[in-house]
């Protein structure tokens, strides 16, 4: 593979790239270059990540004591709601597709751009408008329904900015549909010559499966939110039992989207893991087709398990039994992935660099998060731990432990490609370790307190839980430090980092054959693909 790249200067006298290709605010805000849109996403999701973290930190501080001393109950409700809404809709769902999907998908398949560059830019604008709605909600005094907007509380009784929030979430759904549509069409129609489906990087398979879930799930959420909005504004009674409506129907419609949404958040992370693990074990991935197909299986079966959120909501017991069984079934493809990653590591040439630290953390935390999901999928156990901190800990292991870890792993792995600069390795490893420790310190105690009965969404609690809550808050402080560190040194590296060169990791994949940062059209000539993905054995020979 051709490797040509003189050192890069961001101020831009030598090599042309997508960053110095055009200058000025307008060239960014009106860009249709998928790489620049990825950078726009990177900046915005980072902002919302820290905003959402701030809300979480306020919660943790309040929970240090069993009494309500920092906040009123009402403010506490508003804080956890805004934490959930921001993290789910403005960070976890758009983060990996918006940043790495946008940046890498066309490059990985050897295309010059996504199929619909203007729609791609549009998706970012819709995201930003939706973000403004959510910020408006915060300024308005917040919303207190929880991120789930359960009716009839949200439609009839809640005394907060429900409509603004619903509009914001409706819009962000639009934004992810635009992204998903672009990804599906691009993967179908714009692959480089020779790049057959089973030669695609597994990250692309993950993006494809994610996009399918977005396409099929998000519109149902949109329809539901339209009904909630109509009910809230006009007083129609579709979900209001006082008027003959059925609140459980709302839960069905909501979870029909929101369970698959968990996979919208975690499938991209799994795709990242496959890329990183192969690179840092210098080995072909174990069971390529199984990993690819398990993504598709997750996309499919993931749509059949939503009822496990409703075991105690009044749905029929028989439905509960079926949903429970299907929940066990959907664990299988996830387990296949974990086994295949582990098998890839086996006898690989392990290189312990920052992205690898993150991805190893990802595997461990995802395994815990996934297995505790089975406890919750079991009917009888769920009745015991439903709506306790056990659930909170479980989904934070999946969403923060798995997705955020993978996101940060991806950020370090592709940072040299995106910016042309290396981050400081020692600090990278240090922050990965801090995050791992901080994360477990925050959420492991929550498993325990949940198991012994601490309900979620309460901020006044019996004294015996205090020790665990204090431990959790301390952990969240460590975690916070771990998150702020990369923010600082990555920005620092933009100017002072070592120049990366086109392929600092010795990785295979089309994105490493072009310069860092890539040129505006990604490749000088359209690449022709002749080998399967992760051909590390042959790469060693070439070198």
């Amino acid at each position: 593979m051709a490797v040509t790249s003189p050192p890069l200067d961001l101020k831009g006298h030598d090599q042309e790239n997508y960053l110095n290709w055009a200058y000025g605010v307008k060239s960014w805000l009106l860009t249709t270059d998928h790489k620049r849109i990825a950078i726009l996403y990177l900046i915005s999701v980072t902002f919302f990540f820290f905003l959402g973290s701030l809300a979480a930190f306020v919660l943790r501080i309040d929970l240090m004591t069993p009494q309500a001393d920092l906040m009123t109950s009402d403010n506490y409700n508003r804080s956890f709601t805004i934490h959930g809404v921001i993290m789910v809709f403005l960070f976890l769902i758009p983060a990996i597709p918006g940043v790495f999907g946008n940046f890498l998908l066309p490059i990985m398949i050897g295309a010059k751009d996504l199929a619909f560059p203007k729609i791609n830019l549009g998706s970012w604008y819709v995201y930003i408008i939706s973000g403004m709605f959510i910020i408006a909600v915060v300024l308005w005094g917040g919303v207190d329904t929880g991120w789930t907007f359960y009716t009839p509380y949200s439609t009839t009784y809640a005394n907060s900015a429900v409509v603004l929030t619903v509009v914001g979430v409706f819009l962000v759904g639009f934004s992810s549909i635009m992204t998903a549509l672009n990804f599906i069409v691009t993967i179908h129609k714009m692959r480089a010559p020779g790049l057959t489906w089973f030669r695609l990087p597994l990250f692309i398979w993950a993006m494809y499966a994610t996009s399918i879930i977005i396409m099929l799930g998000t519109p149902v959420l949109s329809a539901t939110l339209i009904l909630v909005g109509l009910e809230r504004i006009l007083g129609m009674g579709i979900f209001n039992p006082a008027l003959g409506g059925d609140p459980v129907l709302f839960q069905h419609l909501f979870w029909f989207y929101s369970h698959p949404a968990v996979y919208i958040m975690v499938l991209p992370a799994m795709g990242v893991a496959s890329e990183l693990i192969t690179c840092f074990s210098r080995k072909r991935v174990f069971g390529y087709k199984f990993i690819a197909m398990s993504s598709m299986a997750i996309a499919l079966i993931g749509f059949l398990v939503w009822g496990h959120h409703m075991f105690v909501s009044g749905q029929s017991v028989y439905a509960g039994i079926v949903f429970s069984l299907l929940t066990f079934a959907v664990a299988i493809p996830s387990a296949i992935k974990v086994f295949n990653w582990t098998a890839t590591l086996y006898k690989g040439t392990i290189h312990l660099q920052t992205p690898m630290f993150y991805v190893l953390g990802f595997i461990g935390l995802f395994t815990i998060g996934g297995l505790t999901g089975l406890f919750l999928g079991a009917l009888a156990t769920d009745v015991h731990v439903h709506d306790t901190y056990f659930v909170v800990a479980h989904f934070h292991y999946v969403m923060v432990g798995a997705t955020v870890m993978a996101y940060l792993g991806a950020l370090h792995f592709w940072w040299p490609k995106m910016t042309g600069r290396m981050y400081p390795e020692a600090l990278g490893i240090l922050s990965a370790v801090i995050i791992f420790i901080g994360f477990n310190l925050t959420f492991m105690p929550q498993f325990i307190m949940g198991y012994v009965g601490m309900p979620r969404r309460y901020h006044v609690y019996p004294d015996e839980f205090q020790a665990l809550h204090v431990a959790s808050t301390l952990g969240s402080t460590v975690l916070g430090i771990g998150y702020i560190l990369p923010l600082c040194y990555l920005i620092w590296s933009l100017r002072f980092g070592k120049e990366a060169g086109p392929n600092p990791w010795g990785a295979v994949g089309l994105e490493w054959t072009t310069s860092s940062p890539p040129i505006h059209t990604n490749f000088e000539v359209t690449p022709v693909v002749t080998t399967e993905a992760y051909d590390y054995e042959n790469l060693e020979e070439e070198v």
Partner: protein, 215 residues
């Protein structure tokens, strides 16, 4: 590549063929999301119809069968003219293209006009939940749900008509300036797909709400 085609191809496509396939697939994928969007509302309808069949029958009789039948006919005609517009474009008949696009637009507007009148009728008869609601029948709460769903479904459909109509108007103006041709017909074809979809959505809405007690 035939002469003059290269200016029509965006720089990130290999050739016009790839561009056309990509654009068409884009619309098909979009229509899948549309199916799911309407599907959510239909799902709610199915659940409540199952729970309250008599109430839905009773409420359905309040709807205007004559106007809605006319409207269904108007919309089906607009689909025909839209299909003819695609044909005219592909066979490079510029005048016919403009005629068919304009008639589609006119038929779509007639549909929306009649729909607007129907809404007005509902308002007069106090059948709009939350805004003007006074129902004399046997099942007021259940009928309230029926009409909520009726307005959600037809309103969503009308919104699609308005958006589609706006885009169609822009396309028609471009067609008048001779922008489209037998090599450049993607936009017309894709517009057609969307228009037919909106039409099909109505074909589901019509029996569900208007014909429900007339089986």
């Amino acid at each position: 590549m035939a002469h003059g085609e290269s200016s029509l191809v965006a720089p990130y496509f290999r050739d016009i063929e790839q561009q056309r396939e990509t654009n068409t697939l884009g619309m098909w994928v979009f229509l899948v999301t549309e199916v799911m969007l309407f599907g959510g509302i239909f799902m709610a309808y199915a659940v409540y119809f199952y729970n309250y069949p008599e109430a839905f029958g009773e409420a359905g009789r309040e709807l205007d069968i004559v106007l809605s039948s006319v409207n269904t006919f108007v919309l089906l005609c607009s689909s025909l003219t839209m299909a003819l517009a695609v044909w005219a474009c592909q066979s490079n008949k510029q005048k016919l293209l403009v005629i068919f696009l304009t008639s589609t637009l006119v038929l779509g507007s007639i549909f929306l006009g009649i729909k607007g009148f129907e809404y007005y009728e509902k308002y007069e008869k106090a059948l709009i939940p939350g805004i003007n609601w006074h129902y004399e029948g046997e099942f007021p709460d259940e009928a309230q749900i029926f009409f909520s769903l009726y307005f959600a479904a037809t309103g969503l459909h009308a919104t699609h008509m308005i958006i589609g109509g706006t885009v169609l108007a822009i396309i028609t103006m471009k067609a008048m300036r001779g922008f489209y041709s037998a090599v450049n017909f993607d936009t017309i074809e894709i517009m057609g797909l969307y228009w037919h979809f909106v039409d099909i959505a109505w074909v589901f809405i019509f029996p569900l709400f208007y014909l429900i007690e007339r089986y």
